[in-house]
């Protein structure tokens, strides 16, 4: 099982943030609990990128911003044939990039 991608839950005010900040953007607290980003969400916007960083060998990648039901928005790769804004998606952890020979894991979304 791949390591989770985590949002930060502020111990002081309970707000969930992603990505993490040193000070809580809501209350300036400095203590956080990791909360796995998982489950379902709604596609806010997407793009199919045809001009890619050097370490990709595919023709294109599909990227999206997803509003997760658990409360945070995230960027992720879409494993979806024909994306449509507003569609429902489910997250998993998968390989999103290779940097200097090592696999980078991240959020990958499929249609529900």
């Amino acid at each position: 099982m791949a390591r989770n991608i985590e949002a930060a839950k502020c111990v002081q005010c309970g707000k969930l943030h992603y990505p993490t900040h040193f000070y809580c953007p809501s209350c300036k607290g400095t203590k956080f609990q990791g909360v796995a980003i998982e489950g379902e969400g709604t596609l806010v916007t997407w793009t199919r990128s045809h001009v890619l960083p050097l370490d990709y060998s595919t023709m294109y990648i599909t990227l999206g911003i997803v509003q997760m039901d658990m409360g945070v928005k995230v960027m992720g790769q879409l494993d979806v044939g024909t994306p449509q804004t507003g569609m429902r998606l489910r997250s998993r952890i998968g390989k999103v990039r290779e940097i200097q020979g090592s696999d980078i894991k991240g959020l990958v979304f499929t249609a529900i």
Partner: protein, 394 residues
Amino acid sequence: MRDVAIVGVGSTQFGRAQWSLLKMMCEASHEAIQDASLGDRKIDAVFVANMGSARNNRMAGLASALVDRMNLYPAAAETIENGPASGASAFKMGFLGVASGFYDVVLVCGGERMREVNNLEATEFVSFLSHRYAEYVYGVTLPGLAALFARMYMERYGVTNEHLAMVAIKNHANGLLNRKAHIRDSITMEGILTGPDAINNNPWVSEPLRFYDCCPVSDGSSALILAPANLAKELCRKPVRVAGIGQGTDTHAVHERPDPTELTAVRIASQKAFHMAGLTPQDIGVAELHDAFTILEIAESEEAGFFPKGEGHKALERGETQINGRLPINPSGGLKARGHPVGNTGVSQLVELSLQLRGDAGKYQVPSRPKHGFTVNFGGFGNNVIATVLSEGV
């Protein structure tokens, strides 16, 4: 604070450099120094704007190198890296130096030589601006972030690919009149969007953005001389006053913004610049906006307060932003056609605006001879933005 004026401007040809980065910066600085007729007067400080010399040109400490090559010792020297907003940042530091009375004569020089590496390496280097683990690792580039932004904007406000193409066509037509512009070819709606060859002429970069929605990768250097207003008349026939500067920042990750279609930092920077100048958007007669992507010209024109939110594309449709329109935007060709030497862009925008306010822009002079001009220099994907208002005379 003292009033500060721009008393000299200079710029190299944009595009593929014929010289080293340092030589380009010397040429632009020399032109600005000549323009200012400084005579025997010493330059007290040099502020250099650059984003990628250590990576792309294997050079660091550019400001010190420029002082040496131009024999400006013992001038103070700083190199400023603030992403694509480096240019306006260096300008702001120079302004503060003169306004405070700490310095009298300041040289601000932006320089970037991106074409020493290939296009993909240049795109990769610019993508370092994105959030390391929440954006970058997914393979997003700056065109990718702009595309995510553009789709939201288009779906919400009814902006179409045709509107985006209209920005490109306008700015290319302007660039054709600017002999220092990187791209000097005219494009048509048929050629890039509606005709049978459009998809070959204008392929996808990151959907919904195509090739002609994105600025080129450019080399280029621009420079200007700042001096206190009371000295400006002595140094310059047509000084331009720095009327207002504003800056704003926003979340690093675009998706973390409560409404990612809002460019809050542009709005805040613009409001602050107008407040300092004691002017409103209605007073502005020419603007150079940061059209690294066509959608940004439309969005920035709204956040700056020139048009209501969601109506920038309608003003574009009506021709209001053409060179002879009510508010000409990017008469120099903008980043789209003049080019985008990334760390230099903010300086080059201020040079272009100065030429317009002096009436020295030649073939692309805005015919209404505006008294006040405005720029937006947009860093990252809108997480660090500087707006400036310049006014004719001191």
